[in-house]
């Protein structure tokens, strides 16, 4: 804008100790900084977004790396052996169609830092280093010990009265831990592994990239839609106002879940993931802009009756200038607060869609997709670590609520 040089008076920063010279934005920043809880929310969110950016560096394995040797492994226990954090190789065993694992801590190997692993890129720059991983191959398992385990298993196994006996796999044949697995370094699964032996930690990290950004992109889209249509509706009034408001009412009265289902069904499942991702954000924001548009319309209508708008008209300002220089700056704190509070809704929306199988589809990973694996009741009992992706969702949403609350208090000119 033409008056930009007047908008940022350099003296404001220089003599900021005088409260008179301080702009409304600075006052808002000061008020926000006093709110510990929302500051905490902001810091945690910044950390989460930073972690999402460097997700592949933190993940020891590719998020889609399948391994039959590690199906449904519980989160790896970390032991301190010889002053080093170490992991124990696992012995795999199938009983009653379930995989069971036993730690063999005689062969423990230390966790290494800054190891070289699979290649990845961050912001287009290629890397191979990962924060942690296991590179040392443990010594082969003690045959005597394996034999003792097999004998114990055979003794414990019930005999002929079990109708499923014919289907039982002989324990010793698999209790070796797998021939392949014994020649490789043991894996470290901080959050356990899923039904295909994929590392849940790497998947949660990878999923954060989609889950954290889909909310922002969706809200950004709905803010743009809502601000433009809300301003037009409130400022122009008349027929346009009526049309926009009735349109909003129609959208708001649509049952959202069937709508999502219908639109998601219309997307071909063969569609590439990025495209699908973009379309889902558009679907989410198509429904969520209405609330913001109404609030902006209300604000604009209130401002339109204020004397400073009348003064701006008498000064000769065009409608565009009145909207851009007076109405939007005044409504912006409100828009920021509303959109901050809308981000968690958008994140939860993506999670819900993916959970129902309407959003992201399995080759891609989001927190909703991960939670979908935990749909069966047996996961809650047998593999509770599959519920871990719910934790970052709750953390993110809560922090956004804290942040939004703090911003709202800071934006309120009448708060103390």
């Amino acid at each position: 804008m033409a008056t930009a040089e007047a908008a940022t008076p350099g003296s404001a920063a220089a003599s900021a100790k005088f409260a008179e010279d301080v702009s409304q934005w600075t006052l808002m920043r000061w008020r926000f900084a006093r709110n510990r809880l929302s500051l905490f929310g902001l810091v945690v969110l910044l950390i989460l977004y930073f972690l999402a950016v460097i997700a592949p560096f933190l993940s020891p394995y590719p998020y889609n790396d399948i391994s039959t040797d590690y199906i449904h492994v519980a989160p790896t226990k970390l032991h301190v052996i010889n002053g080093q954090i170490s992991v124990c190789p696992l012995l795999q065993e199938m009983r009653d169609f379930q995989w069971f694992y036993e730690e063999d801590c005689d062969r423990a190997v230390p966790v290494d830092w800054m190891v070289k692993g699979h290649a990845y890129t961050i912001l287009g720059i290629p890397f191979e280093t990962h924060l942690f991983g296991v590179t040392q191959v443990p010594p082969p398992p003690d045959p005597a010990k394996l034999k003792a385990r097999a004998a114990a298993a055979a003794a414990a196994a019930p005999k002929s009265d079990d109708p499923l006996a014919a289907f039982k796999v002989d324990a010793p044949s698999v209790a070796s831990g797998g021939v392949e697995a014994d020649k490789l370094p043991p894996k470290v699964f901080l959050f356990g592994s899923d039904v295909q032996g994929r590392d849940m930690f790497s998947r949660v990290m990878e999923g954060s990239r989609i889950s954290l950004t889909i909310g922002l992109v969706g809200v950004a889209l709905s803010v743009v839609l809502g601000a433009i249509l809300g301003t037009a509706s409130g400022y122009l009034g008349g027929l346009i106002d009526d049309l926009v408001q009735r349109f909003i009412e129609i959208i708001q009265s649509m049952p959202t879940l069937p709508l999502w289902a219908a639109i998601a069904a219309a997307l071909p499942p063969t569609m590439p993931v990025p495209q699908r991702y973009l379309l889902i954000t558009i679907i989410l924001s198509f429904v969520s802009w209405t609330g913001l548009a109404r609030q902006v319309r209300g604000k604009v209508m209130a401002y339109a009756n204020l004397d400073y708008i009348a003064a701006a008209r008498l000064a000769g300002s065009s409608h565009m200038r009145i909207i851009l220089a007076h109405m939007l700056p005044n409504a912006s704190s409100h828009i920021i607060v509303v959109s901050t509070l809308a981000v968690p809704g958008s994140i939860l929306g993506e999670t819900a869609l993916s959970f129902l199988g309407l959003g992201m589809l399995p080759p891609a990973v989001s927190w909703g997709v991960l939670l979908r694996d935990a749909q069966q009741i047996q996961s809650v009992i047998l593999h509770p670590w599959l519920l871990i992706p719910a934790v970052p969702i709750i953390l993110t949403v809560t922090c956004y609520q804290f942040l939004g609350d703090g911003l709202r208090d800071a934006a309120d000119p009448y708060s103390s």
């Binding site: 008056t3 908008a7 008076p9 409260a19 010279d21 004397d307 009348a310 003064a311 701006a312 000119p413």
Partner: protein
């Protein structure tokens, strides 16, 4: 209509100006009636004078001012502004481009010093907005001109980096005055510029307005509900009642020799400077009529002590009863009404027109 200065073209002339606001009601927002906020005003403002416009709350005086400057679109009537550059211009149907040019010579000072300044803009940007929009000044020239305006209204040039919240009500009103003067206008419509201020600050701002009027050769249309303020600052006074002007006269003439019973009642409500000599204020019976449903005939007749049958039927036109003294009353010549006979009261802020005259 010919005024006392008949030879000079008035700076602003208004004929039969009407502004009706629709009342929406019913299921589909049909218009079920109109609030006749301004219902046929005749008024002229002469170059260099201060015309006071008084009336009770809700009588339409602010609406009249805002319609004259075309913040509102008039329902009917004529507005003629004698623009110093482009000559007489009709404003009632003028387009935005014409209005922008007229507004460089016609500005407004608002009542509420809090809602009239954009809280997100620095004082420099607020005062400089007319200059920026019209492309008159930018950069350091803009800062110099804004600083000069701030000095003229009694503030310091370095205040332009501050934001409105850092100023008191009186200071904010000074900022509003500086903004109105930025384009060096001829006519300034002052919409109750001091009624939101403390009494001590009122006198300062009034004196500032008078000084600026001399310095810049300004013409004021001064809207107020405080008779003593109007008496202090005005050359002529127009009295409004329920949407139209009932009496116009030079200030002294109006206060000493009112020709309309409503004016008499208003004047009798001014407390005299000496409390021992306090007479009994006239009490008006009844309520102020609603502008959406005014009475027949003269709008004042239900409350008028002198009302006759004619008053119930026919609305009296505003006519020149004695030279320069206009009144809208059928019996203006026959009645002998009481005005002020002692010295004029001082401004002490206590003489506001009561919102409810029975009180």
């Amino acid at each position: 209509m010919s005024q006392s200065k008949a030879n000079a073209t008035p700076l602003l002339q208004v004929r039969n100006l009407k502004k009706h606001f629709p009342i929406k009601g019913g299921l589909f927002g049909r218009t079920v009636g109109h609030v006749k906020a301004v219902d046929g005003i005749d008024l002229s403002v002469h170059d260099g004078e201060t015309l006071g416009l008084v009336g009770e709350s809700g009588c339409g005086k602010s609406t009249a001012g805002r319609t004259m400057i075309r913040l509102y679109e008039p329902t009917a009537g004529e507005i003629t502004f004698n623009d110093p550059q482009s000559g007489p211009m009709r404003l009632e149907r003028a387009g935005l481009a014409d209005l922008r040019r007229v507004w460089t010579n016609m500005q407004m000072i608002f009542q509420d010093p809090f809602s009239s300044l954009d809280p997100r803009m620095s004082v420099g940007r607020i005062i400089g907005e007319p200059l920026t929009v019209h492309g008159i000044a930018t950069g350091s020239e803009l800062r110099d001109r804004v600083g000069e305006l701030l000095r003229r209204v009694g503030l310091r040039p370095e205040h332009q980096s501050r934001y409105p919240h850092a100023f008191s009500g009186g200071q904010r009103q000074r900022i509003g005055i500086a903004r109105a003067l930025a384009l060096n206008p001829k006519l300034v419509i002052c919409d109750e510029p001091v009624s939101a201020l403390d009494v001590s600050v009122q006198a300062q701002v009034l004196n500032l307005l008078e000084d600026l009027q001399d310095e810049f050769n300004l013409t004021f249309l001064f809207i107020a509900h405080d008779l003593s303020v109007v008496e202090h600052i005005s050359d002529r006074v127009a009295v409004m009642y329920v949407g139209y002007v009932v009496e116009v006269a030079p200030t002294d003439e109006l206060f000493r020799n009112p020709l309309m019973p409503y004016t008499e009642a208003l004047i009798s409500a001014i407390p005299p400077p000496n409390p021992r000599r306090r007479g009994r204020p006239m009490k008006l019976a009844g309520e102020v009529p609603s502008p959406s449903n005014p009475p027949t005939g003269c709008y004042f007749h239900p409350r008028c002590a002198y009302a006759a049958d004619l008053c119930k039927v026919e609305r009296p036109p505003l006519r020149e009863v004695t030279p320069g003294h206009f009144a809208a009353c059928h019996f203006a010549e026959k009645l002998s009404l009481r005005g002020i006979d002692g010295p004029m009261p001082a401004i002490d802020g206590s003489t506001a027109v009561p919102a409810s005259p029975q009180a």
